[in-house]
């Protein structure tokens, strides 16, 4: 059942059309990603959902409420983390949580939230003394302190170090596990691939795709390529006979297998059956970033789209 319904949303600032005829629904309990480059209209779209901006056209329903007309009721069910929002410099972590908790009649326990975000020992630290990552995590905690039904998180891991990002991802998964619907605005492909059930891809204000991460990857072709070296004699016909394999070739030292489906597993199993130990085993497959490139004509970030797999077939 959808908790957010956006239909034919349009918002322009003067001559610039930020969001143009965008429609999507977000189901209860899912993590829904909105991805796109800077300026694609992601933030404008979620600001309309959060009732911060009035759409020029189209309709939005959030938990059965009109974000503009039912603003006050919306605030109690929707937690929002915004980009570039600071707190007063001298405000301490514990005080910020206490203050924001007081805005809601029912809410989460600030102590549990802070512990979950690794801010437990920082209660008496002023906002200005927190690192960028800690400020970001506090901002997430404030978005969740009202125990919302829906949480909108805008660029939540921007500026975080890799470990903090992973911890934040775990937190988001826990949030969803507790029944909260999450709308995640991001330009990190690894993040949305890991977290999101479905994605809306925006480009220049328009919705160019609405699908699961796997579905998006499939759209750009399921072709996969495996390369490895092996010193032993290989039973090439047996390898070619695998239904997943389209072609197999060798330049004498290096083998290249092209195929689809669960190619990685099929080839690994066949090599194991032949008791062959490959070296430099690599699997390349279309990534979400390739999908984004194909959909919009430009890459989202500097990712190469190569997933390295070691000999046990585990993604490194």
């Amino acid at each position: 059942m959808p908790v957010i319904e956006v239909a034919n949303l349009r918002k322009a600032y003067g001559e610039t059309v930020a969001v143009d005829d965008v429609s999507f629904t977000v189901d209860e309990g899912e993590i829904f990603g909105i991805v796109g480059r800077n300026g694609a209209g992601k933030t404008t779209a979620v600001e309309c959902v959060a009732g911060l901006r009035t759409p020029d056209a189209g309709s939005i329903t959030v938990a059965g409420l009109d974000p503009r007309a039912d603003r006050d009721r919306l605030r109690r069910v929707l937690g929002v983390q915004l980009q570039e929002c600071r707190l007063p410099e001298k405000l301490r972590v514990g005080e910020a949580m206490w203050l924001y908790r007081s805005f809601y009649p029912d809410g989460a326990d600030p102590g549990t939230l802070l512990a979950g975000l690794g801010l437990d020992g920082m209660r008496d630290t002023a906002f200005e003394d927190l690192s960028g990552g800690q400020q970001q995590r506090l901002s997430i905690a404030l978005a969740l302190v009202g125990d919302p039904r829906i949480a909108v998180l805008d660029e939540l891991t921007t500026g975080l170090d890799p470990q903090s990002r992973r911890e934040t991802w775990r937190l988001i998964e826990n949030v969803r596990a507790s029944g909260v619907t999450v709308v995640l605005v991001s330009h990190f492909m690894d993040e949305v691939e890991r977290l999101c059930d479905r994605l809306a891809v925006l480009d220049r204000g328009r919705l160019v795709a609405l699908d699961t991460p796997a579905g998006l990857v499939e759209r750009v072709g399921g072709e996969q390529r495996i390369t490895f070296r092996c010193a032993q004699e290989l039973d090439e016909p047996a390898l070619r006979a695998l239904p997943e394999v389209d072609s197999a070739s060798s330049d004498g030292r290096q083998w290249t297998i092209i195929g689809s489906g669960n190619l990685l597993y099929a080839v690994s199993a066949e090599l194991a059956r032949q008791r062959i130990t490959p070296a430099g085993f690599r699997a390349e497959q279309a990534s979400l970033d390739d999908a984004f490139l194909a959909l919009t004509g430009r890459s989202l970030d500097g990712d190469t789209g190569v997933t390295e797999v070691d000999q046990r077939g585990e993604v490194r």
Partner: protein, 246 residues
């Protein structure tokens, strides 16, 4: 209003933890009092209804200054900073209203001004034998209306200023300009007539005149009180219309 008590507590802590902001509104008027007090303005002047220059001039100037600095400089600089850093925008997505934060700021700054007034009055009383205003009720009304007018101007400055520095600059110009024209530096009779008349109806000038009258024992002029009330109404309604949350 949701969260108002908590916001007021938090805003008070913010003011307390940034004591540099307290120095000018509390320290400068006190310094002026001390200078006047030690400068020997003790003799009683018939035109001041038999009060000393210290009682009839220096103390009203210093008290009005406290209200003017807190209202027209401190308040807008805080609010402009909150807008710049997205503090107001952040609040606008919670059930709390950003207006509650504005109100909390006004309350805290009123408290701050009250502390300033009490300290100044205590020093003037203990060190320089200040006499109580002869029209106590009128004096209180002059302070309340003066505070209202200056806080309203402060809100309007916060609404108009594009940046924190602009808010401080506009606030200082408003404070120093109205103080100069309103007879806070030089007695009004030393100013050109048109300037003195204009200055008399600025928030600073009108509050000073009303307070002096009350101290000497006269009822303040209706025009001065009306000017303060009028500025309050105009500035608040303009600020409410022009204020940007982000």
């Amino acid at each position: 209003m949701t969260g108002l008590p908590q916001m007021t507590v938090v805003e008070a802590k913010m003011v307390w933890r940034d004591p540099a902001g307290l120095l000018i509104p509390l320290g400068l008027p006190l310094l002026i009092l001390l200078m006047h007090g030690m400068g020997g303005q003790g003799e009683l002047v018939p035109e001041f209804g038999g009060l000393s220059g210290f009682d009839a001039v220096a103390v009203p100037i210093a008290l009005t200054m406290i209200l003017a600095i807190v209202g027209m400089v401190n308040l807008p600089s805080f609010l402009a900073g909150y807008r710049k850093h997205g503090v107001l925008r952040r609040l606008s997505v919670t059930p709390a209203k950003p207006a509650a934060l504005l109100l909390a700021q006004v309350l805290v700054n009123l408290g701050l001004a009250t502390v300033g007034l009490v300290v100044a009055l205590a020093v003037a009383r203990l060190a320089f034998d200040l006499s109580a205003p002869r029209e106590l009720g009128w004096a209180a009304l002059a302070l309340v209306l003066g505070a209202a007018a200056m806080y309203a101007v402060g809100m309007l400055i916060a609404a108009l200023a594009p940046s924190v520095n602009a808010a401080i600059a506009i606030g200082l110009v408003a404070f120093l300009g109205t103080m100069a024209a309103g007879g806070g530096f030089l007695p009004a009779e030393h100013l050109p007539g048109w300037l003195a008349t204009a200055g008399e109806f600025t928030p600073y000038g009108a509050a000073l005149q009303a307070l002096r009258d009350a101290w000497i024992g006269e009822a303040p002029q209706v025009l001065h009180l009306a000017a303060l009330a009028g500025v309050t109404v105009l500035a608040v309604s303009a600020a409410a219309r022009l204020f940007r949350w982000e």
